[in-house]
């Protein structure tokens, strides 16, 4: 095998200094007044031996890794993997690579992840945070690394956020059901303190209250899907006659709900109408097709990565520029499951 190639070996071979090679490679030839002749000589040789700089060395020297950490709840959830796809694509085009991991909504694990990425000196973070990582994220910000929080809102954390209008979305979905004539409308959600869940719940509650109806709220402790289904089964068994419609706060709770309803022989929408937060290919194909509140995945991804990239391109001095909170609208997709 030929000698290891490096900027040094190139310099030696051409009888010039590494400085010059580096300047040429980084497009600073003009600025640094390297003659066109020499530039050509370097470029030709570099081309010839197909030299590629060692990015580790570069990162060590510059302090920039060109890596962005993407920390989501679970990369195998369609919502998150779709986001991962979009974000990676855009980041790639801008010279950044993405390193990912799933938190499983575990705060300790998330804090550990963040620490590891700090050691790796990633340049920025896109995080879907569980409860309990507020201080850690603040510390990250203080260290000068840009952080974009996705899907949820963290109080007392001065950083960029990208989320959807959970409150309004659920409020109007609830109102929609009410307008269709439903009165006993249940809201089934996770027992979670995460902002997006709380906002969805509030939207429901307010709409119910504004219409002088009685709220029916069921909170499921987040466990595995079989457990979830069992809980829903027993809940529906007890309440089936007192409920005319259900709004599920996430698509996977809805799927569990659909399974439970099928087992109980409940017809949708005749016995119980259904609306789910977060669309899913399954909902479109299901019989009957399930009405849903669709999140703008592309727009979420695009805003998140753009926000991060813009911070990354700015001088550190501007970092304290006030945090942005981007709230995107959802799309209500009425389907057969919510008609009368």
């Amino acid at each position: 095998m030929g000698k290891k190639i490096s900027i040094t070996s190139i310099a030696k071979h051409l009888g010039i200094s590494t400085t010059t090679v580096s300047f040429v490679l980084n497009g600073k030839a003009q600025e640094k007044r390297i003659s066109d002749k020499l530039v050509k000589k370097v470029m030709d040789y570099v081309e010839e031996i197909d030299y590629k700089p060692n990015s580790l060395a570069r990162s060590l020297r510059t302090g920039k890794s060109n890596i962005i950490a993407l920390i989501v709840e679970d990369i195998s959830f369609p919502f998150f993997s779709a986001i991962a796809k979009e974000i990676e694509e855009k980041a790639y085009k801008n010279g950044y690579r993405i390193i990912y991991s799933s938190t499983e909504n575990d705060a300790a694990k998330t804090r550990e992840l963040i620490e590891i990425y700090q050691d790796k000196h990633v340049d920025g973070y896109i995080i879907v945070p569980p409860e309990g990582v507020e201080e850690k994220i603040n510390a990250l910000r203080l260290s000068g690394k840009p952080v974009v929080v996705l899907d949820r809102y963290l109080d007392n954390v001065e950083t960029d956020h990208v989320l959807v209008n959970n409150y309004d979305s659920v409020y109007s979905a609830t109102q929609y059901l009410i307008d269709q004539g439903y009165k006993n409308i249940a809201f089934i959600t996770l027992s979670s303190l995460q902002s997006q869940m709380l906002d969805r719940l509030s939207g429901y509650e307010q709409a119910i209250q504004d219409n002088n109806l009685r709220p029916i709220i069921k909170e499921i402790t987040p466990v595995d899907s079989l457990e979830r289904e069992k809980h829903l089964l027993s809940f529906l068994e007890r309440k089936r006659n007192n409920i005319e419609a259900i709004i599920f706060s996430t698509n996977y709770i809805c799927v569990s709900g659909l399974k439970a309803m099928k087992q109980l022989g409940l017809n949708i929408p005749e016995d119980i109408a259904v609306v789910s937060f977060d669309d899913y290919e399954l909902f479109e194909m299901y019989t009957p097709a399930i009405t849903s509140i669709a999140q703008p995945i592309e727009s979420i991804s695009e805003n998140a990565i753009n926000l991060l990239l813009s911070r990354l391109n700015k001088r550190t001095a501007d970092v304290d520029k006030s945090a942005q909170k981007i709230v995107l609208p959802t799309t209500f997709i009425p389907r057969d499951s919510s008609g009368h």
Copy 2:
């Protein structure tokens, strides 16, 4: 802010050499005969200031980045995102991080990706390769980096493979339909030269031939889902009376097929029975539930990452150890769509 902490600043503060600190931190104290007293002193201080080594510097020096590249067709496909989840989890526990990207089955893009990861000095690769990257992968191998190929088989590439038994799986699924009494059985697939697609097709053809039946093969050029649906619609419209059952070679083609069949008012399985390769939550919930050939996602992921980790832990000298080809069985899940 305190001074930047490094192994050097620690050494300076304790009045000892960086060598000593490094030895202690790397657990080589015993071997290098550092006194217990000094070890404790170092450890205590390291603990106190919560020092974490700079992994860039370490990587530069050692030539190991502790990063694995995961290159799949499309990270947003449930099959791949599920694999990504498993692989990341296992890699994480072994001190490796995962960097990912989607190839979109584009050979040029894939080659570019590989080059970039080479620059980043990733330690190993898990790749779902499009056609046309064989030489590049061989070059990778030659450079001493372990590569595990997933989902597909590359001829003339001496590297580890993990895939499922595509041929047998489809052969028996076809036989199953034949045993159910179906005679005019179509196979709808992508027009692709990828090994997994060819194997699935061969399995179908052989079963048809072994039973003296007439093959009906439809190849779809891989385009977007709307196009796919249109193609299937016109195909089914023409052939609806000559087909009793269909085997789809991937889950997303099947979804398009289901949409087309619904539009044409074709009843499953009365008018046409359906089997799909690759299970999908949608299939379980669909009416009727769709029979499928499920791939063992956990096992695929586990085998892939284990294989890679074992190569990574070996000395480079053993690299030429003969490549392994791991072929895993699928699970046939009979559901309502294939009964009579």
